[in-house]
Symmetry: C2
Subunit: 421 residues, 2 copies
């Protein structure tokens, strides 16, 4: 049993903040046993670790990012999606898949950046190459961070040529599933079809079977733009909605599923996602770089009970700073998304428990939750004036970056800088 | 004569980048004499300062920020403009005006933050108190940074009560003009009516006279929302446009003038601003926190030749990181502003020469320009891959922050950290 003493904030429900100034959290075997304003008698005799005047928050979770695109973050946003993809993204993914030394360097930098930004759990889509994907999983296991990682499956001509053959895609996937099975409680394989237009029916069948047989989670993109939505409905004329195509192949909540973007999602689709518990990765920065004319109706999704978390969408998005992604989520929700904008507390929920729930009991300090936590030193942000803890959280969200994160815990274990590992 | 050798980038015209890998810039008496791909013979014999493998850029300029709002950045964005103003902004401005020790602390922190973020010139609106304003000017003069600083003039009931009397407003302004006259080439007094609704006709008359008599620059807000525009047109029924009201009082380009926001600006108003050289401070982050239904048509303003720079609008905006403000300007221009979005090079122009031109020959490395410059160490951003200098600039803009700025020059002088001064 470990007791931490500090200024505790967490969000157990959308829009709610639990605030315990000078409170206590008890952790046993990496799991939160309880939080307390005053320490109960039976716990008062053990050693207490003082966290000082900073803040203790649940760590952040990133529900959508592309490992191979880290080196091209910031590039190609001036052009259209075709230029972004053909000039920067596709070559970077090809190199990542074919040059393992290079991929290892990118993977190391990615893990350091996740750690630095307080992202203790992430859902990562690699490129098509299985070796680079395996390297990332191995390094993540060594780091102590949690993640769902998958090699991208992409065997069908969509906007460009197919990136791999169907047999190669299945074989690479199979090999990684076998390799990862039982290796780590924190790092899991996730089935990762790129998006319906880039996957053959045979491969969709195969992935659905694997999901069912192995109980594996699924990640993809859905209805990012009008173009991909039209391609899907054209290819599957019997299905009314993009989501029904996934569903037909058993890739829509039959196992834990997260879909990025969902800009053109319908009410019927949101209702199905709510029933099935299909997560949406809301990626506020990506949609502003090469915007479509519609955006995720995030308020409606939340009102209907769809589970929503935040995604950095590196390299469609430009930052792994989840504080900045929270601020952007709020801004975008006020200006581009239909419905009432998000509050700071709501954005904080999305970045913690909202996305964390994809990994199980993660993202909160309620009893039974994994102790994924960040210690924040926000002295530089609160020099002039008196602030409540909720206001300090707002200041951090809008003005903070990795310089303010001084300690990081995942599943109860303090995680050292992976760059120094 | 001083010669610097490094990777030089600057934007002499909107959308154009001048790129000199391993180039030279010659500086004499704080002013750029020329930039060279190869050093001409007459200059080749002096000492050359090597800047290494990083980037040498013109420093950033911030055309709009509120000193007294630094402590409330990030607060009050959940509510409407009234909550933001009444609960946070107004009390912070009152305290800043009445408690000089407190104001001095805020001023010191502001100057450090400007320096840290590579903002060598800024246009700063203080609150109504003249002492706090004078303290900021004095500290800026000591720091070596350039700025136009003014006490806010606000003697008329607008959305809330008047903040000061007309005689007090004039007297405070007068005192600061006299105090600042001739003291510094870099730090100037700027006349700072809050916005037309908050200024009496008598005070507008007085400020117009001062502008003319003293040749002083002017800053204010214009057409930020529908509400203030309606108030102005209602109060001045003879004038068709908000800009004509300013103009009637000699506060619209008769001397250098910058207006923040201009969300509801008309074509006719933009044409007048172009003719008069009235600057717009485009504040991309502020307009997303408590958004109206319209935004500055930034492309149209640029097409018509209106001078435009960027404004952080602290604390309506949330960051002095001008790199982040450039990224936000691009995002907002693509999603919220009418017309074609900004490119990275265009946003870089706005943050350097676009805004710098308000201060004279500032924001470029063309001959005759003040040597305001930043040395960037972007090694952490370019570890994996080969990038052109223009791509490195894009990576910096989207992924960079003050950690990547390692040296800062204003008017030829290297500026040390003001916090350590």
């Amino acid at each position: 049993m470990k007791i931490y003493h500090g200024n505790i904030l967490f969000s157990p429900r959308l829009g709610e903040l639990t605030v315990l100034p000078g409170g206590y959290v008890a952790v046993e075997d990496g799991v939160v046993r309880g939080t307390y304003a005053q320490l109960p008698e039976p716990l008062a005799h053990g050693p207490i670790e003082e966290l000082g005047e900073g803040l203790l928050l649940p760590a952040f979770n990133d529900l959508h990012l592309h490992a191979a695109q880290l080196p091209t973050v910031g590039l190609g946003y001036d052009g259209d999606a075709g230029e972004w993809f053909n000039r920067y993204t596709y070559p970077a993914e090809q190199r990542y898949s074919s040059d393992l030394d290079y991929a290892a360097g990118v993977n190391g930098e990615l893990i350091h950046s996740l750690w630095e930004n307080g992202i203790m759990r992430s859902v990562i889509m690699c490129a098509t190459g299985p070796e680079a994907t395996q390297d990332l999983m191995k390094r993540l296991m060594e780091s102590g961070l949690g993640a769902c990682v998958g090699k991208m499956n992409s065997d069908h001509e969509a906007f460009g040529e197919a990136q791999e053959s169907m047999p190669a895609s299945c074989e690479g996937t199979r090999r990684l599933i076998d390799w990862a099975r039982g290796k780590s409680a924190l790092v899991r394989y996730i089935l990762s079809p790129e998006f319906v237009p880039a996957v053959s029916e045979e491969l969709l069948d195969y992935l659905g079977e694997q999901a069912k047989k192995e109980g594996l989670p699924v990640q993809s993109h859905m209805s990012e733009g009008e173009g991909d939505l039209a391609m899907v409905l054209d290819r599957f004329p019997r299905e009314k909605l993009y989501g029904y195509v996934w569903d037909r192949y058993g890739l829509f909540g039959q196992t834990p599923t997260v879909m990025a973007h969902c800009s053109y999602v319908t009410e019927e689709e949101l209702e199905l996602m709510a029933r099935r518990g299909v997560f949406i990765a809301f990626c506020p920065n990506a949609i502003q770089h090469i915007p479509g004319d519609r955006f995720l109706p995030v308020r409606r999704a939340l009102d209907l009970g769809v589970p929503v978390g935040l995604g950095s969408d590196i390299g469609g998005g430009h930052t792994l700073n989840m504080l900045q992604n929270m601020a952007s989520a709020i801004q975008v929700s006020k200006t581009l998304c239909a419905g009432r904008g998000l509050s700071a507390a709501e954005a904080f929920y999305l970045a913690t428990k909202g996305g964390g729930s994809f990994f199980g009991a993660v993202g909160s300090f309620e009893p039974g939750y994994q102790f994924d936590a960040l210690v924040i030193d926000d002295r530089a942000l609160v020099g002039h004036g008196e602030y409540t803890l909720a206001e300090r959280l707002q200041r951090l969200l809008y003005c903070g970056d990795s310089r303010h994160i001084v300690r990081r815990f995942c599943a109860g274990r303090e995680i050292p800088d992976p760059a120094k590992g």
